[in-house]
């Protein structure tokens, strides 16, 4: 079960994150890349890198055969799938096992049982974990059956795709009248996104907060939890800001323990091994309901790392090579506070449309309490083929207040030129009194927060902009005058750059 060479079957910041953990453990590293990613950081950081296909994921990062071939060719003995792509694909985990490769993740059966939401809910219910009331979805209900069940559950409710994720195939329904049309459109979306139109119903928990529990499990039946994360700041079911611990759980250690125990229970119910996350919805009365278990490394794992001191990716690698869990639950404590902002290449002022192009400048903040996990550097191309996450900015403080202060400072230092990012969105959320006081739920961004309104309070400096623009224009005019004169005489670019130093090197 031991291994010395790991293939990272992913890209972007998470590939770099995993490569770093491998390097710290002294493991050799292999990575793969699509044609769009030849210059990416993960290619530059790895000991070896192999091209596996064109930009489209289906033809590269999702090609199991090519991943296995790259592992064979390089002599890698283990594969870390990161998140997304094949990370929750039970068939891929099985294929690795069949090929004699260690899959750095849970056993195929655990992935499978947690992968179908209906089965997962039934399993959890049987294990005594509370689930959101709804149709358990083990069977495929017809439209009439769903409509009949809806009356029992009550409104508002959610229609969700069993194979779904990321908000796809999901509909909120407030009255019985809306049901038939909502079912039809959810089925259609699910069919097109996942190839399966099966849906189930779930009670919509009002004022719910998204709180999740990080668990680690070894092959010998030991399971621990690393406390909770709160990810209620979402937009269309996409997490944007995460923290550990949860401000809602706060100093209620008893509640924290109960949440943690749910995480452990869920992991035990499917004989889980490796790192996983149990997601719950928590209502205002601290009732919590199992949502789903993510059988992989989570984007927001760093906030837990900062407050527990545990390197979750290092743990994954150690657990995958058969080591016994070295963490004792009783000695585990959260210290301080960590907050993560996902820096996406998208325009917060224009419906969060993805922004692509040449990342001319990417200078990340540094200094006390600041961690940045990124997969891009200045000069990178942000392509339209993959998700818009360019970096995770994570700040730590002894208190939530200090962590948020540092986050504000770090966001102000962050420099991105070339693509548009959601940094202004984060800056505005971090100025919001309700956010700072901890009063928010999963609908906060969509229902209570207005970026336009928040942004209108930002100081504008048109006079400074005018001075800058005029000076730069003057510089450019002088420069182009010289180009004309010099090139007319056969002048060289070098000569011009030497002569024109008024604004400094270029």
């Amino acid at each position: 079960m031991t291994f010395n060479k790991v293939l990272v079957a992913n890209r972007g910041e998470i590939a770099v994150r995993v490569l770093r953990a491998c390097r710290e453990l002294g493991l050799e590293t292999v990575t793969v890349f699509s044609e769009a990613d030849r210059r990416s950081l993960h290619v530059r950081y790895a000991d070896e890198a192999y091209l596996i296909g064109p930009a489209i994921s289906a033809d590269s990062y999702l090609r199991m055969d090519r991943l296995i071939e790259a592992a064979r060719r390089s002599g890698a003995e283990a594969i870390h799938p990161g998140y997304g792509f094949l990370s929750e694909n039970a068939d891929f985990a099985q294929l690795c096992a069949d090929e004699g490769l260690v899959f750095v993740g849970p056993p195929p059966d655990a992935i499978r049982r947690m992968g179908d939401k209906g089965i997962a809910r039934a399993t959890m219910k049987a294990a005594g974990v509370p689930v959101v009331p709804g149709t358990e979805g083990e069977v495929r209900l017809r439209d009439e059956e769903l409509i009949a069940a809806a009356a029992g559950i009550g409104f508002p409710l959610l229609i969700k795709a069993t194979a779904g994720g990321g908000g796809k195939g999901m509909r909120t329904v407030r009255t019985m009248e809306e049901m038939p049309a909502a079912i039809e459109s959810a089925r259609r979306e699910s069919k097109s996104a996942f190839g399966d139109d099966n849906v189930y119903l779930e009670k919509l928990i009002l004022n719910a907060r998204h709180i999740e529990v990080q668990v680690l499990a070894d092959q010998y039946g030991n399971v621990v939890h690393l406390g909770e994360r709160e990810c209620s700041i979402q937009r269309r079911h996409q997490k944007l800001i995460e923290e550990a611990p949860s401000v809602f759980v706060g100093p209620d250690e008893d509640f924290r323990q109960r949440l943690g125990e749910v995480g452990v229970l869920a992991a035990r119910a499917v004989d889980y091994v490796n790192a996983g996350t149990v997601e719950c919805l928590v209502d205002a009365d601290k009732n919590f309901y199992f949502l789903e278990m993510n059988t992989r490394l989570q984007v927001e794992h760093p906030v837990t790392e900062l407050v527990t001191g545990v390197d979750i990716v290092v743990q994954q690698l150690q657990l995958a090579r058969g080591e016994k869990l070295a963490i004792e639950q009783s000695r585990m404590e959260m210290r301080g506070w960590a907050v993560e902002c996902r820096i996406n290449a998208e325009d917060p002022f224009n419906q969060f449309f993805p922004s692509t192009g040449h990342l001319a400048q990417h200078d990340v903040p540094t200094g006390p309490g600041v961690r940045v996990d990124t997969g891009v550097a200045s000069g990178a191309e942000i392509s339209p083929y993959y998700d818009p996450l360019i970096a995770k900015l994570i700040c730590y403080g002894v208190t939530r207040r200090q962590a948020l202060r540092r986050m504000r400072r770090a966001l102000a230092e962050y420099r991105v030129v070339g693509v548009t990012t959601n940094i202004p969105f984060h800056q505005n959320i971090l100025q919001d009194d309700r956010f700072n006081a901890g009063y928010f739920d999963t609908r906060f961004v969509e229902e209570q927060f207005s970026l336009e309104q928040a942004a209108s309070s930002v100081e504008r400096l048109p006079e400074v902009a005018a001075i800058l623009a005029a000076l730069v224009a003057q510089d450019r005019t002088r420069r182009s005058t010289r180009i004309e004169r010099d090139c007319g005489e056969g002048g060289s670019a070098w000569k011009r750059s030497v002569r024109w130093k008024d604004l400094g090197r270029q």
């Binding site: 001319a360 400048q361 966001l411 102000a412 420099r415 030129v417 070339g418 940094i423 202004p424 800056q427 930002v458 100081e459 504008r460 400096l461 048109p462 006079e463 400074v464 902009a465 005018a466 001075i467 800058l468 623009a469 005029a470 000076l471 730069v472 224009a473 003057q474 182009s480 180009i483 004309e484 090139c487 604004l503 400094g504 090197r505 270029q506």
Partner: protein, 169 residues
Amino acid sequence: MKTITYIDGQEFDLELLEDGQVRINGQLRQVDLRRVDGGQAFSLLVDGRSYEAFVSEDHGEMQVFIQGVRYTAEVIDEHEKLLREVGAAARLGEGIFELTAPMPGLVVKVPVKVGDQVQPGNVLVILESMKMQNELKAPQAGVVTAVLVAEGGSVEKRDVMVVLGPVGG
């Protein structure tokens, strides 16, 4: 040097004086601008206030970023402003477009003639400059109302070459 600078449409009268002085809308400011890396990053001091700024230019549009806020900027000289004002009344809302030479050059080809109807992206003039042929295209649909250059002739920067009027206008 005097310029008119527009920031998101707001007009500023700007005069660049000697010794780092700038007169903006009549106010004198002490200014120090430096490029701080190889590219688009600048450090700007205005009367002691320090600003880090970035400038990007794309398709002739200048964008300025200061403290995370983006401004669209346009810098013209007084002569140009006058021309605009004179033409403004006539052109306003009528969809008139004047194609001006972005640089001095030789007119290689004018594939349109007066009366032609053009679509956005249609080439109006091919201009050779620094041994490079540049296709200058229509930014909007319209009818060619004037062609002021001839193939083989030369133009100076900002010379009007082709004028488009509104379709059916």
